[in-house]
Assembly symmetry: D2
Homo-oligomer: 355 residues x 4
């Protein structure tokens, strides 16, 4: 008897594409990376060096890859702009889909993926919010579910990147959907996870500044932003996103309940080393979200594979990904317009005049 | 040659009054506590046991104490409702004044103390924002001034009390000015210190809930609140205040600059003990703000005394105390009304229609 | 072009055998687990469920596995008592060998493996001291090599297991070589790594007690032990080993130099979660060395494979493994005899009379 | 009714003398510093500036101070060489005595103080082991007494000074009694406290090196030392002392029991500030034992005063101070001679031949 493995293809071999491809190739025992596609010649060359020798077929064209003999699933790790299109094509071709976040920076486009998926209920379609697969967040979630903090009432969460002196994020801002959609989307997703997907937003407020990159204003973006989300059931979430951390990646979350508090990563650390010298005691911290979440991505790949092979439920619903974009976009709008935005219980906007 | 000591009287012998009285009696070498006043018989009895044997004269009536032979200064540590009145009487009687925070929960009344003091420029009149005297905050401030975090841009600060199961804070809410004036006032003062007293508020937004004490709504208050303050120069401060911490007092501040971050008390601790047992590794944390700031109050008493005796500048300007109440009251209003409030550069409100 | 992979067999499918087998099967891309052997029917059944479906051939007899067509390497993960014998057989059969620690609890038997390996210089033969592959220890080592702590002078290291209430370690004590050979061997190996393999022991002293398991005395063992090693160049290492930690595994190391200190894992933690509740702030810690060093074992498997395939030097010399057993055995003897033991620069014992 | 205060004189106004004098003057409400003595003109001048204005009478001659009208107690804070002589003179003059540690570097001389005190049972005579008054150590002790770590079995403790580049400690070594008597004496005292004063030493072993100051060998001393103490009841204590810490003072203690562990100051810190910059996250640590134990000295002064005024038992027995010197001196001898030293249950040495 030989083991059953899921045949998967990887769309895109950029920064995240390479990682997903290698994860499915080397660290997902029940998956078999059979194909990868990219229109980019440099990425293609990387594939020739790193994937082809292991039997992975390379395609320049995504549509061709979808026709790969026996292909069962696709991980969409291309540019955000084509996430939704590629995901929908895969769904229509009857492939299971693991799509990098966000589905789209547009709520409507994001919803179109959900609509496509809803017509193929036998397919597993998931948006890859990696923190849902992180062992620390899971431990916190399980402890909350076990009741040790009483009723969760307040969630504080931040996604703060180390300053990239190349300023890449300035150019990227025109595609990113803005700092709340690009960075805080993870914190928003955590909120929907910890507070429950059924949580209804009542109001959003936000402010931001450009402490290091004034040019971001050209794209209606900021390099530091704080957002405040109030839910109809009284719960509150507040977020901080930044592009200018000096020491490294600082992704921290606290869930405060009536009987206790769960804190995740309030003291970031790269590893278990402390250095004492004349300046004091010092530790280094993760430089990127990959340093912090590498193992979560591996777990994601393995769990997606298992869900497909054994028809198990996915760790998160696709609709949550749309809701996260919706909240992120509202925060971005609140920040840029300077206005507080309100919603009724059905999710429709309430005019300021009616407040 | 014998040392010169400042003769001071203490108004009020309640929770804070006792502490101030003992600090000036026992831990402020250059001060001499000569008098104390309280209309409360229980407090008076405490004074007889603990102050009189050391030569402190007790008064039932504040006005009588002001006439105490040789009295040079007064520490006002009575109920908030009479802070301003007693401070102004002392100023008019040519006494130096250290007044517990807040001057008043009303901006106008607070301002009246400043007005009285401005007519007596030879007097030292200070509002006791104890964190300004805390060694950790001072170290952080000095490091910021030395430039090690570049330009400060974002300040996060929280004042979170351990849940008092007696619910005292519910009854107190009718006098407290609300959670932002009672708790966040410290975080607001820190903001004015770290960002500079000249910082001009542009907008405030706030939300709150009653996770443990719905009765607070009767007094237009909440037990958890998050506030967002945007300054005209682009700086941002955001605050969290809570009445329901399970483990103890959690007063934490982060100042984020373009080149680094200063964090104060992100890992609270009662002492230096860690306990390992079957549940993991555990430390206890301060139970009250006194556990956390006891030594800051001692420093405050000593520095106030030195400023009086040597005519040195005070650590903080009285006007900052009014500005802190102004911001706290605006946050409280924003929370209760659900509206974002805007100010122009002169500090006048901007109508929503003009936004 | 297809990738070259190293064909490896796993001897033993007990606790560590299972882990090594799965690591080579699933987490070592350039290795191919082709065979496994165990005389134990339960272990064999586990292999049928977990290895055979992936094409791994199972053997009841180790000698038969050595004849497996194309086998290039063996990971010896059987009982300590047969480590040396199986390693030597593999060497003689021209296989590369990764042998679990220790080679043997006997210095002489350990040396026999080195002797066998020295006759086959083309083979890669390594003893698996997993901490050499741990990212934190490596970071510390690199920092020390970069000179940031000046000259390393003192090393403190401990290997402390969570109390196993089954008392397995009591029965195991008759085979383990004693607590210094079983537990401190890792700390000794770290010492030889950080201080240099050429370090010459001058004296060893040790004491121990049986705080929880007096029965250990039957096997001349203890459940807590402290050892002191002095080197001829003046460097000092001291070790603590314990079987009774309440919270979990506590493997901590400090390297103290003339200009600084490197500390590894002085604050153990299972993950990045902190829980605040009425008892304070708490974190869980790793329960076993596997929780702590899982990723180090994966790195070990990958680096061993790479060394074989590309004829690269191994991360540690086989002779260091003999030296570690030598020091561990001397500490154990010092603890049981109550005598301090001295060595000359050639490693020969110095009689007490000559001290 | 006026409060009763204890009239105390301070012998010595050197580094520690100044501190004790100011503590009794300013931070010990129930004590009255009435006199101080020092033969040193510079110290005397300091006294004129800092003590005389508060009514403290200065003496050049200790014997003269003992005759000060109404003097009830003496704090001996002079050079170690005269501790015992001055303490005995004070006892004979019927004064209560708080003597800085150690009573003497000689066991016999230390014992002579105990002998003198035993003839005056109405006097309070205490050796100032400041850690006994530290709130963290007390919390740990109380938790141990409450049984939360089961039976204490192992104690690890270290006293590690920041490197003093002036090399003062080299010249001081001829008077200090050696690193175990000068530094580890605190750890030894803690051991006698946590394990019980009745603990009987079975063996001591020790090694040391001169990593930064080879000149210490002239005085039979070392700059780093590790000592191992085994008690007849099986308990074990091990100590590390160092003169070369790069970051500051690192005084750490762990008490390991059969059901848990108490750790004191395993993560030293100067205050609650953390700095994040490009090098990671950093905190400063105490630079001296005064930074670490300042408040313990204040508590010591207050409790000694209270014991005298209210005839309450002292926090520690004088005999423990002799036992601590005895163990420290044995460790020093073991380090210098290279020999393990054994004692029988009566505290007599056992010849090596009889081991």
């Amino acid at each position: 008897m030989s083991v059953q493995r899921m045949k998967i293809g990887c769309a895109g071999l950029g920064r995240m594409g390479k990682r997903h491809a290698l994860n499915f190739l080397q660290r997902t025992p029940r998956a078999e990376l059979v194909a990868a596609s990219t229109p980019d010649p440099v990425e293609l060359e990387w594939g020739k060096q790193n994937l082809e020798p292991y039997g992975v077929r390379l395609y320049q064209n995504y549509d061709d890859m979808l026709k790969h003999e026996g292909l069962e699933a696709v991980v969409v790790a291309s540019a955000t702009a084509v996430h939704a299109e590629q995901a929908i094509k895969a769904i229509n071709a009857n492939k299971h889909v693991l799509c990098e976040k966000p589905l789209s920076t547009s709520v409507e486009v994001s919803q179109s993926v959900v609509d496509a998926a809803s017509k193929k209920p036998h397919l597993k379609v998931m948006c890859g919010f990696s923190r849902r697969f992180d062992s620390s967040y899971r431990d916190a979630y399980n402890k909350m579910q076990a009741g040790i903090i009483g009723a969760p009432s307040i969630l504080r969460s931040q996604t703060c990147d180390k300053l990239d002196p190349s300023g890449f994020f300035v150019a990227y801002a025109q595609f990113s959907g803005g700092i709340f959609v690009d960075c805080s989307i993870h914190d928003i997703d955590l909120t929907l996870w910890f507070f429950g997907a059924e949580s209804k937003v009542k109001t959003v407020s936000a402010v931001g500044n450009t402490a290091v990159e004034p040019d971001l204003r050209k794209h209606n973006d900021r390099d530091n932003a704080v957002g405040l989300v109030e839910f109809h059931d009284g719960k509150i979430a507040y977020f901080y996103a930044s592009r200018m951390m000096a020491a490294g990646q600082e992704d921290t979350t606290e869930i405060i309940g009536t009987k206790g508090k769960l804190a995740v990563n309030t003291q970031p650390q790269m590893n278990l080393v402390n250095v004492s010298d004349a300046s004091g005691v010092r530790r280094e911290i993760p430089q990127t979200y990959w340093d912090r979440f590498e193992h979560a991505f591996v777990t994601e790949a393995n769990e997606f594979t298992e869900a497909v092979l054994e028809d198990k439920p996915l760790a998160l619903q696709l609709s949550a990904a749309v809701q996260a974009v919706r909240i992120g976009a509202a925060l971005q709008e609140a920040m840029i317009s300077g206005k507080k935005i309100s919603f009724d219980l059905s999710g429709n906007r309430v005019e300021a005049a009616r407040l």
